[in-house]
């Protein structure tokens, strides 16, 4: 067993060699001789009627090859929502068409209404400036509450700004209302889960290519899931047969969700490539990224927690408005519903949960899944209201949580929000957190801070989330229009090395390192002899991509199943070579042996035999050694954690500094602890960013005020502490072969309420009666809260 490269080995990331030496191959790095450039004309108003678009002057500009407007795509299909949500009254959600280019109206600043294809980017940009668009500005619909009350509609044809009014679990509504009415104590909190701009380091980029000789299209694009993009383009938007369309996503420089979705720019470059017989490239600039990448979060929630006199939770009830922006992005309807409402029981034995979500159209960029996708919103609401309840009841916030935790002997546990948790031990995580964070030393540290004139606070959080998305049968019942399995092909080459084709697609997660560790462990060979192939629909069987912390739990399980098939076949070949029975063959450390004898053949010898099948029992075994498996999970996986943080607040300026941040997570089994730690670090950075600095602000006219790094604050190294990260207390997932749960989003889910709870604790320790501050807790907001308290 290769302990240095198999499961559990903290090997360095092999992909980092090229990433850190400038040898990554991103979409924009691809250059071809016939390449020409697409630049989009984008709306400068949030809501407007397109009265006319005159492209004649632009068309006459140097280098211009073609100009497209919404008229050119009036007949093609729209980009659909992947999830159909029914309202409480049983009616289906409103699903207005999302065109390739705006047609009739522009609906948010940045909405593309025309595209110029020219020989160079500069020429295309000049021509875009020469397009004469007569767009009549209409009053913008920005605020969600106002949108629901308004008779001014983002989509006139649906006659409302409400996409749906969803209840979960509707059958529990009356009982929840009753429990809250009769409860000993009810804690109420109104809060905002702030909108975030994803800010992947690599902007979106798409290159369309068409071969008239074969009628085949190729799309290179920045995607977390090239097969889903192909499916959407083929089945819904353009009708290109899947066997005539290859989608390739090479190295992807971050996504955080924003590169899951199919965007109109991808369809445009394909249509232009066919029309011109040229390769057409579009690369977003940073302003386009701010204005048009699908944003995240943006919920406004009222949550109530009912408790009895002993502090037992009786019910959670929430009313949420979820902003979906101007159009429904592919997963925008699943995020605030089934990825959010189903988590509203948290880690707790609470018997009743009722969640109401109204999804609202506004003249803002579309909002969709962003690192955590619904679970951060659920965790934030729960863990903030629990903290507030503890203060109101004079209880220790950790003890109140422990009192209501699901206990280890209760698994499998059916939560009041409709999920079945398979494993966990929340008390053990809390114990470990208190230990590694040195909670006992907090009071001494608080005194040190006070001596410096600073207020110190301790904040805690317990989270559970649902990963490994998702059982197809279950999500089908819930409205998903896709299955959420994944696939892998394991190809053993004749010389004994392996290519493993996976449907997951890394945009920073380290798949090229981790997946080979799994296969190496199973085959007993060195991971270095195994390579991952991903991101190319022509090379891999199928895949649903990377999001929802699903890659290892779902696609990794497919890799296990395919490798098991390889082992079975290889044993048959070995049995033939060793003149033994299949059942007597064992595999250990890359060697097939006949049990009880000294007869053996190596894995490499078996591979060679499979491809040079001399003296081979062709009547029983096919030549070759390649197997494919599809894996559809039996359940979600349920990572959980206990987080704490300590902040220092400057009472004179309101500035918050995170001094200590501890994340103790149950990810089940861990394949590569270093990669997992890195994933947690990234998530913590984003979560602290959301809590303290990231401010997506639209004004009343729908202009994005924070549309550049001059005004949108990204968390930087000096905003963040050294983290204490611990994942030693894992309880394996019970239903996937690796026992893994998923780690990609946990940090971003667990940290925001932790930071807010710590700031509230700090302010209260300073005698300020502040019970809540909305994120981001900028110095100005904290100072204002202190001075209004």
């Amino acid at each position: 067993m290769p302990k240095d490269t198999g499961i559990g080995a903290a090997t360095t990331r092999r992909e980092d060699v090229r990433f850190l030496t400038g040898r990554g191959q991103y979409t924009d790095d691809i250059q071809t001789q016939s390449e020409c450039a697409a630049v989009f004309a984008r709306s400068t108003v949030a809501n407007g009627k397109i009265k006319s678009i005159d492209t004649s002057a632009a068309a006459a500009m140097p280098g211009v090859l073609a100009i497209f407007t919404g008229d050119d795509f009036a007949e093609v299909g729209g980009n659909p929502a992947g999830w159909l949500i029914n309202s409480r009254d049983g009616t289906p959600m409103h699903e207005p068409k999302r065109p390739v280019l705006a047609h009739g109206k522009v609906r948010h600043v940045g909405d593309a209404y025309a595209a110029v294809i020219a020989e160079t980017v500069a020429q295309a940009r000049d021509a875009v400036e020469a397009i004469e668009a007569d767009i009549e500005e209409l009053p913008a619909i920005v605020d969600m509450k106002g949108a629901l009350a308004s008779d001014n509609y983002v989509h006139d044809e649906i006659g409302t700004n409400q996409c749906f009014d969803w209840g979960w679990i509707e059958d529990n509504r009356a009982a929840t209302d009753e429990a809250i009415k009769n409860a000993h104590h009810v804690t109420t909190l109104e809060l905002v889960n702030n909108r975030l701009v994803p800010n992947a380091m690599e902007p979106r980029c798409s290159i369309g290519h068409y071969n008239p000789g074969t009628d085949e299209y190729t799309l290179h694009t920045t995607s977390q899931n090239p097969h889903l993009t192909r499916l959407l383009i083929s089945a819904f938007v353009m009708g290109i047969p899947e066997n005539k369309l290859t989608v390739i996503a090479p190295d992807v420089g971050g996504g955080f969700g924003s590169k899951i979705y199919h965007y109109g720019e991808e369809a445009l470059v394909l249509a232009a490539a066919k029309k011109l017989g040229r390769t057409v490239k579009w690369t977003a600039d940073r302003t386009e990224a701010f204005l048009t990448d699908a944003h995240g979060r943006d919920h406004v929630t009222k949550i109530e927690l009912a408790l009895d006199a002993e502090g037992n939770f009786l019910a959670f009830r929430t009313e949420t408005m979820a902003n979906v922006g101007a159009y429904l992005s592919n997963f925008s309807t699943a995020t605030p519903t089934f990825l959010h409402g189903t988590l509203m029981a948290g880690n707790y034995t609470v018997p009743l949960v009722y969640v109401n979500v109204k999804a609202v159209f506004t003249n803002t960029a579309p909002v969709d899944a962003y690192r955590g996708a619904g679970r951060p919103e659920a965790t934030f609401s729960l863990e903030r209201v629990i903290d507030k309840a503890a203060r109101e009841l004079g209880m220790d916030p950790i003890e109140l949580r422990r009192k209501n935790f699901v206990k280890p002997d209760q698994y499998p546990f059916a939560s009041a929000a409709g999920l079945e948790y398979d494993s966990g031990n929340y008390d053990a995580l809390m114990d470990q957190m208190e230990k590694v964070a040195d909670k006992a030393g907090f009071e001494a540290r608080r005194k040190e801070s006070e001596a410096k004139g600073l207020l110190r606070g301790f904040g805690v959080n317990a989270y559970i989330e649902a990963c490994g998305i998702a059982p197809s049968n279950l999500v089908g019942v819930l409205g998903s229009r896709v299955g959420l399995y994944d696939a892998a092909t394991v190809r053993v080459n004749a010389t004994g090395n392996l290519s493993v084709m996976v449907g997951a697609h890394s945009h920073g997660q380290g798949h090229e390192t981790v997946f080979p560790q799994v296969v190496a462990e199973m085959l007993g060979i060195e991971a270095e002899s195994i390579d991952i192939v991903h991101g190319d629909t022509s090379k891999i069987p199928f895949g649903m991509g990377t999001y929802g912390s699903r890659s290892l739990a779902v696609c990794g399980s497919a890799v296990v199943r395919a490798t098991e098939k390889i082992i079975n076949k290889a044993k048959k070949i070995a049995a033939h070579m060793l003149e033994a029975s299949d059942e007597d063959i064992t595999l250990k450390d890359g060697v097939f042996s006949v049990a009880g004898t000294d007869k053996s053949v190596s894995f490499g010898e078996v591979a060679l035999k499979a491809y040079i099948p001399h003296e081979f029992p062709l009547e029983d075994i096919e030549p070759g050694l390649e197997e494919t498996a599809f894996y559809d999970p039996a359940n979600f996986t349920y990572p959980s954690g206990a987080y704490c943080c300590e902040v220092e607040v400057d009472p004179e300026t309101g500035k918050v500094r995170v001094d200590r941040m501890t994340a103790v997570d149950d990810f089940g089994n861990v394949i590569n602890p270093m990669v997992v730690t890195g994933q947690v670090h990234g998530g913590l950075g984003q979560g602290i960013g959301q809590a303290l600095v990231e401010n997506t602000t639209y004004d009343e006219n729908g202009q994005l005020l924070s549309a550049s790094y001059m005004d949108y604050t990204m968390p930087r190294a000096d905003d963040l502490p050294f983290y204490i990260v611990d994942h030693s207390k894992g309880n394996p997932c019970t239903h996937n072969p690796l026992g893994v749960k998923g780690c990609g989003e946990a940090g971003a889910i667990g940290s925001p309420p932790t930071v807010v709870n710590a700031v509230i604790d700090a302010l209260q320790s300073g005698g300020k009666n502040v019970t809540h501050i909305d994120m981001p807790m900028t110095p100005h907001r904290v100072w204002s809260a202190m001075n209004n308290a």
Binding site: S706, Y709, M710, D711, Y712, P779, S784
Partner: protein
């Protein structure tokens, strides 16, 4: 970015001549101008880079003053004036990030006069003299409002003369995204009195706080300003802070500057 020509003169005279062309624009370190060009918000016919003008480079002591060439970058100031004017070196060392500090120049910063830039506060609080190819301008006359200065057409900042104070400190409370000053206060104590300059706060750009100057000239301690209130008239209010918050920060930063200078 629109197309433009670029010239790299090696003398002030050549630079002035080059700037005579229609729609020509001087280029210092380009830390504001280049992003503006990339956004297609300006369309100069020609950029005249001042980076090769050797007579505009470097730092020199002149009696009780420091003279800094207009094309000297922030990193050089941070590295070379610490011994004589540590508050100025500290200010330069905390502008932007290393890339900005190795490109951005003092002349560029003062010519642009961004209302949230750091250098204008130092120049105004120090009673500096702005030296151009045509004349010498006292800081009190030089700054004329947000992005507005006394510079005329074809006039280049060739150097800045800073009288070295007895004590000084610059305290910046950063706008978290841009890391420009949400509020920055430069306090400089000279034998004939204290000067206080505030950046980041006002729609009028950098300005002196006369009430604080009077109070600190009489009693150079943080207590002297604790009872004052910075006037909120015409202060900047945006998503990063209200006028009231900025006024409050001016007072806090002034007090901290006095403590740090003492």
């Amino acid at each position: 970015m629109y197309a433009f020509d670029i010239e790299r003169p090696s003398s002030v005279a050549d630079a002035v001549a080059a700037l005579g062309a229609e729609d020509a624009q001087a280029l210092g370190g380009g830390q504001t101008l280049i992003p503006t060009l990339k956004q297609r918000l300006a369309a100069p016919s020609k950029l005249v880079s001042l980076g090769s003008v050797t007579e505009m480079q470097g730092v020199a002591s002149e009696g009780g003053s420091i003279r800094i060439g207009g094309a000297t970058n922030h990193a050089t100031v941070a590295a070379q004036v610490g011994g004589t004017y540590p508050a100025l070196a500290d200010l330069a060392a905390n502008i932007g990030d290393p890339a900005v500090r190795n490109r951005g120049t003092i002349g560029g910063s003062l010519a642009n006069n961004d209302p949230a830039a750091c250098y204008p506060a130092a120049a105004l609080a120090s009673g500096a003299t702005i030296i151009t190819n045509k004349r010498q301008i006292a800081a009190d006359e030089y700054f004329q409002g947000m992005f507005t200065t006394a510079l005329g057409e074809g006039e280049i900042i060739t150097g800045v003369l800073f009288p070295v104070p007895e004590q000084a400190s610059y305290q910046k409370f950063v706008q978290p995204a841009s890391r420009f000053a949400l509020v920055g206060v430069f306090v400089a104590k000279y034998s004939d009195g204290v000067r206080v300059a505030v950046t980041g706060a006002s729609n009028e750009g950098v300005q002196r706080w006369s009430a604080a100057e009077e109070a600190l000239s009489a009693n150079f301690s943080a207590d002297a300003v604790s009872g004052l209130n910075f006037p909120t008239d015409d202060l900047i209010a945006d998503l990063h802070g209200s006028a009231e918050y900025r006024a409050h920060l001016v007072k806090v930063m002034t007090g901290r500057a006095v403590v740090a200078a003492s």
